[in-house]
Amino acid sequence: MTQYPYTDKKDTRSGFGAGMTELGRTNPQVVTLCADLVGSLKIDTFIKENPERFFQCGISEANMIGISAGLTIGGKIPFATTFANFGSSRVFDQVRQAVAYSNKNVKIAVSHAGLTLGEDGATHQVLEDLAMMKALPNMTVINPCDYNQTKQATIASAAHEGPVYLRFGRPVIPVFIPEDMPFEIGKAITLNEGTDVSIFATGHLVWEALQACQILEDQGISAEIINIHTIKPLDVDAILASVKKTGCCVSAEEHQVNGGLGESIAHVLITQYLAPQEFVGVKDTFGESGTPDELMAKYGLKAENIVEAAKKAIARKAK
């Protein structure tokens, strides 16, 4: 399989911070807002270099979304930043009316998504945000997989005209996406070509999928690993091309299976090309306190879970 050697481990939120630093230096229309989580969002450098383009909102996320929508009237490109829970479920109506329905050029950039937020527990571990955001017309939904891709996605979000929900996280994980790998919103990336099963992974599950790929290869199974960084618009062509080749697939995400990436893929398959699909994701339950690693293991989001799902999908292929 294609190898992705890494020398460094970083959190995806730092990739966002690096992207914002670059945008601060290159795009004078970019402004940033935060609801009392500056340190967590890694935007200190942006603020230091562009104090007049940063608005501290305090603990009032609904207001932050509305102000962001207003800032676009006047040509600004606002990045509204907070934790994923507070940038989605807490403000869904504000996002729906003032951002999505009004089709405003607001970027909702959120950290600490999913179980890997860890010890804070289920109140903060949002696992439903992709479902909410992908249901909104006009909304683009991006869930990058490592530091480099998050930086790329941040810069691409600013260049994209329209509402974006950009989701990243807290844990330190391998930086495995090459800096020069092309990134285009809505365009899936094939990380490994294979013939027996397609594995569509997003966010932190992409690294797990690559580990699964190695395990499967050691057992004589050829897995195609596709990184779906853009949940919406979904790269339907890439999904169909891969499944037509392999005949079955697994979706893997740090999100509820209800309403997540897997359901979007199932929609494609059920309407265009019937094939077995297995789902790796959180199965209709809330999270809990624990280390990120313990939580990913307990809730079935590790490489071995993907391996198991892949074998199940292969076994269900028409004889």
């Binding site: 402004v31 007049e52 383009r53 608005f55 909102c57 305090g58 009032s60 609904a62 207001n63 932050m64 979304i65 509305g66 102000i67 962001s68 929508a69 207003g70 800032l71 676009t72 009237i73 006047g74 040509g75 600004k76 606002p78 109506d93 504000q94 729906r96 009316q97 003032a98 329905y101 009004s102 089709n103 405003k104």
Partner: protein, 282 residues
């Protein structure tokens, strides 16, 4: 044409639009007519082309902006925008009908000139107007942002998030109005959920608070002029604007019953008798 005559025509438009749609919100629309007519025909600096007519672009740089937070009183805004020249007056006949740009609540999706944000789900307009005011400051644009909210709407929590933000960030190019008509869907505001002293509340949050009779042209003229003079002094401004729901149509006044009800044919005729046609009906 004087402001009062324009307002009379706008009130005719409102009752005819709501009657035509067999739904909509005449009460608050009639109450806020004098304010919104005064803004668009007298107090706001609007972008125009060389020949004089207003021109619309979404960014609104170089002109004053108005946001309607209590979007359900869309009939008054639509009528004023059409009468001011933003879109054809004939389009008022499509209000709330299928394939119309005049949605029940204001929206941008149909690209109606004059509308910059969707509103209807309450409590959001103050935040949006603060954002637009901040953009003006960043752009070095010295024009003002106006926003109208309902008094029932003051029960939404987001209003007070925004009310905290604006003085903290010295958003002093913003003039907010609270349509203080004392009524909401379920009855008098004092009975449904008492807002108590709204002026004192805003003052405690750090706003410059003014009071105005929104149905009295002398009061409107004096207070709007005073408010504009108070901008640029480090504080946002709010004007508690006393209005009468249903103003101009006697049987729609002094009650909350006409918040969201359309008049029938007979009631329409009775209303129109009280409102002289000054600019020609659509």
């Amino acid at each position: 044409m004087n402001i009062q005559d324009i307002a009379s025509q706008v009130r005719r438009d409102i009752v005819r639009m709501v009657h035509g749609a067999k739904s909509g919100h005449p009460g608050g629309s009639l109450g806020c007519t004098d304010l919104i007519v005064s803004l668009y025909f007298k107090h706001m600096e609007l972008k125009t082309d060389a020949a004089g007519p207003v021109v619309f672009d979404m960014n609104g740089t170089g002109e004053d902006l108005f946001f309607l937070s209590n979007g359900h009183i869309s009939p008054v805004l639509y009528s004023v925008l059409a009468r001011r020249g933003y879109f054809p007056v004939a389009e008022l006949a499509t209000f709330r009908k299928i394939n119309s740009r005049l949605q029940g609540h204001p929206a941008t999706a149909e690209h109606l000139e004059g509308i910059r944000i969707a509103s209807g789900s309450l409590g959001q307009g103050l935040s949006v107007s603060i954002g637009a005011a901040l953009a003006k400051k960043l752009n070095g644009d010295n024009h003002l942002v106006y926003v109208l909210m309902g008094d029932g709407e003051q029960q939404e929590g987001q209003i007070w998030e925004a009310a905290t933000f604006a003085p903290h960030h010295k958003v002093d190019n913003l003039i907010a109005f609270v349509d203080f008509n004392g009524q909401q869907i379920d009855g008098p505001t004092d009975k449904v959920m008492n807002n108590r002293d709204l002026g004192a509340k805003y003052e405690a949050f750090g706003w410059r608070v003014l009071h105005m009779d929104g149905n009295d042209y002398e009061s409107l003229e004096a207070v709007l002029t005073a408010a504009k003079a108070l901008t640029g002094q480090g504080q946002p401004i709010v004007i508690i604007t006393k209005t009468e729901m249903g103003q101009g149509v006697d049987f729609m006044m002094h009650t909350h019953k006409w918040h969201g009800v359309a008049p029938n044919d007979e009631q329409l005729a009775k209303a129109l008798e009280q409102l002289p046609e000054t600019l020609g009906d659509y």
